[in-house]
């Protein structure tokens, strides 16, 4: 947790409305991004981001010296997502299903991927097993420490570490295969894939 987050926790516990706005500005993109990575489409991610913050406001008093505000919010977001996935059968966006969905139909935001290599990597991450994917996204995309990732997922840091190692091995294999395949494809096919 950086200096500014520590001050923010202090202000939040004083029920400072300006601190709430800071909490939104500082972390709402991470919450939204995390929900998209979990498999929520755009509208659902917006909806769940609002529910995440609504839940956070009711829990401010239980927020003590949080290790990380971001991991605290991402934990709430994940719970909201899983709860919604359980309640709304038609969505069927469980962690495992999300990988396949993301691989088949990448979110529109993937257009932001600036290079073909980014797109390949994003696809490879989306193909990871759910528990491995969560650990990679939280550690590398959301920049949480192993301890913070463990707090979000409810597992010890050692488990997070082993999941990340397994994920890296899998990712390397996937990327090596994909990039070897790309090299053998005509240029137009590569361009169309981006």
């Amino acid at each position: 947790m950086g200096p500014s987050d520590l001050i923010l926790v202090w202000r939040l516990r004083r029920h400072d409305r300006d601190a709430c706005q800071d909490l939104i500005l500082r972390h709402h993109a991470a919450v939204y991004g995390w929900l998209r990575h979990l498999g929520a489409d755009g509208p659902l991610a917006e909806d769940l981001t609002q529910e995440t913050y609504a839940r956070a406001w009711t829990r401010i008093d239980s927020l003590r010296q949080a290790r990380s505000l971001r991991s605290w919010l991402l934990t709430i977001a994940r719970n909201e997502y899983l709860q919604r996935a359980r309640l709304k059968r038609p969505l069927e966006v469980g962690i495992e299903a999300a990988a396949a969905a993301a691989a088949a139909d990448p979110p529109a935001d993937d257009l932001l991927a600036r290079t073909e290599r980014d797109a390949n990597l994003r696809r490879a991450v989306s193909r990871l097993d759910g528990v491995l994917r969560e650990a990679v996204i939280l550690h590398y995309f959301q920049e949480l420490s192993l301890r913070e990732v463990g707090a979000v997922l409810g597992v010890p840091p050692g488990t997070v570490k082993s999941r990340i190692n397994r994920a890296l091995t899998t990712l390397r294999d996937l990327l090596n295969k994909e990039e070897a395949h790309d090299r053998s494809e005509p240029e137009t096919a590569i361009a169309g894939d981006v």
Binding site: R13, Y32, E46, Q50, D109, D118, L121, N176
Partner: protein, 398 residues
């Protein structure tokens, strides 16, 4: 593809971007129970300001501060006695807190130690959590950080982590410059300055029912060196305290150097009773390189600070990373120094001590580059000898 390359690519990935109006919608959903600033609810017990009153433990803490900050401070009866007497209860009350949390802005420079001052530099945010010895952690605990480094002591060992370098160092004991951040130490330093002839240019009421003192102090001579640490500058320090509790609530410092320049100001001073032990931990990512001091061959062992400096700079000229590392540079730093383009060692001065740094500084002049593009660089190499090998090694200043 290597793991390192893969990690780098993963870190560079962008997240899906939320719609532009999402933040506004979230703000509209903030419940009315949240107020504005201090008008809101009270802090929880763990954040509550400690009550006034010295305990045996806090007296111990104060003594620790006095011993480490004020060797040889003046006695009563001098010209600053009145100011010193006024500061006594402030120092006592401020030092009675078992722990303190400080956030301050200070004008320094990336890559330099916490006590480095650069009036022309960029303001950096410093944060410190300090629990004095004798309080909850018997040996004292601390964690101080600024943008390029964090140093934490859990009472047994110190971990220094340099995110930009991807390196960390572990050392026994508490190797943290807590005096730089401990409010009671600031008050005691001013008291010593008053007794030594510092001039009070304001003493009395501040705004909002506070008490305020501004003291002007002369800098110590630097014998031609470039000033780099607070005691070397002519300076003014303002402290503000709450007359009801006598505890310090604010500090600002200016140096007088071609004008009056603000170089430090506190943003947060919190006095804590029972800080969470986790606050003092330094989290080091798994792929960080842990740096240890290499064993020195006979030719580089047992050297004094001046000779270590000369050998270090000669190794820089020769781009000899091996010697640079043996003399204390981390692999990352050794690579930077070796690539800095040092072409000649012009001079190595006499070692000196200043501020709270426990080692010594050695002034030096080197030439960077060659021919028409050559430029002279004057700086101070920081060396310390509190390592298991008890030899002088590089600790910054290049």
């Amino acid at each position: 593809m290597t793991d390192r390359n893969l990690r780098r690519r993963l870190r560079a990935m962008s997240d899906p971007v939320p719609p532009a109006d999402l933040a506004g919608r979230l703000e509209r959903d903030i419940p009315d129970s949240f107020g504005r600033g201090e008008a809101g609810g009270a802090p929880g017990p763990e954040w509550m300001v400690a009550r006034l009153g010295a305990t045996a433990a806090s007296i111990g803490a104060l003594v620790w501060v006095v011993l480490s900050v004020l060797p040889g401070s003046g006695g009563p009866g001098g010209p600053g006695t009145t100011v010193a007497a006024m500061l006594d209860p402030v120092a006592r009350a401020t030092g009675s807190a078992p722990a303190v949390h400080i956030v301050m802005r200070a004008w320094s420079r990336t890559g330099e130690p916490f006590s480095f001052v650069d009036p022309a530099g960029e303001p950096q945010t410093f944060e410190a959590w300090i629990e004095m010895p004798g309080a909850g952690g018997a040996a004292g605990r601390a964690r101080v950080s600024k943008g390029d480094r964090v140093r934490g002591c859990d009472g047994r060992e110190t971990v220094a982590f340099f995110p930009g370098r991807g390196e960390a160092i572990r050392s026994a004991g508490c190797v943290v410059e807590v005096e730089t951040f401990w409010p009671a130490a600031w008050v005691l330093q001013l008291k010593a300055a008053a007794l030594a002839g510092g001039t009070a240019i304001h003493e009395g009421a501040g705004s909002g029912g506070t008490a305020r003192l501004v003291l002007r102090e002369p800098g110590v001579p630097v014998a031609g060196r470039k000033k780099a640490f607070l005691p070397e500058f002519d300076r003014e320090t303002e402290i503000v305290w709450d007359p009801a509790t006598s505890r310090l609530t604010g500090l600002r410092r200016w140096v007088i150097e071609d004008g009056r320049h603000l170089v430090a100001e506190t943003m947060v001073i919190e006095y804590l009773d029972h800080p969470d032990g986790a606050l003092f931990a330094v989290e080091v990512p798994p792929d960080v390189r842990w740096v240890t001091l290499r064993e020195a061959p006979e030719t580089l062992a047992g050297l004094g600070p001046r000779e270590v400096t000369r050998r270090f700079l000669e190794a820089a000229v020769a781009s000899d990373r091996d010697t640079l590392e043996i003399l204390g540079a981390s692999p990352h730093t050794a690579a930077s120094v070796a690539a800095a383009g040092v072409s000649a060692v012009v001079s190595v001065g006499e070692p000196f001590r200043t501020g709270v740094f426990r080692g010594v500084y050695v002034p030096y002049v080197v030439t960077l580059g060659r021919g028409e593009e050559a430029a002279e660089r004057r700086h101070n190499l920081a060396l310390r000898d509190d390592n298991p090998q008890k030899r002088w090694v590089f600790d910054g200043g290049f």
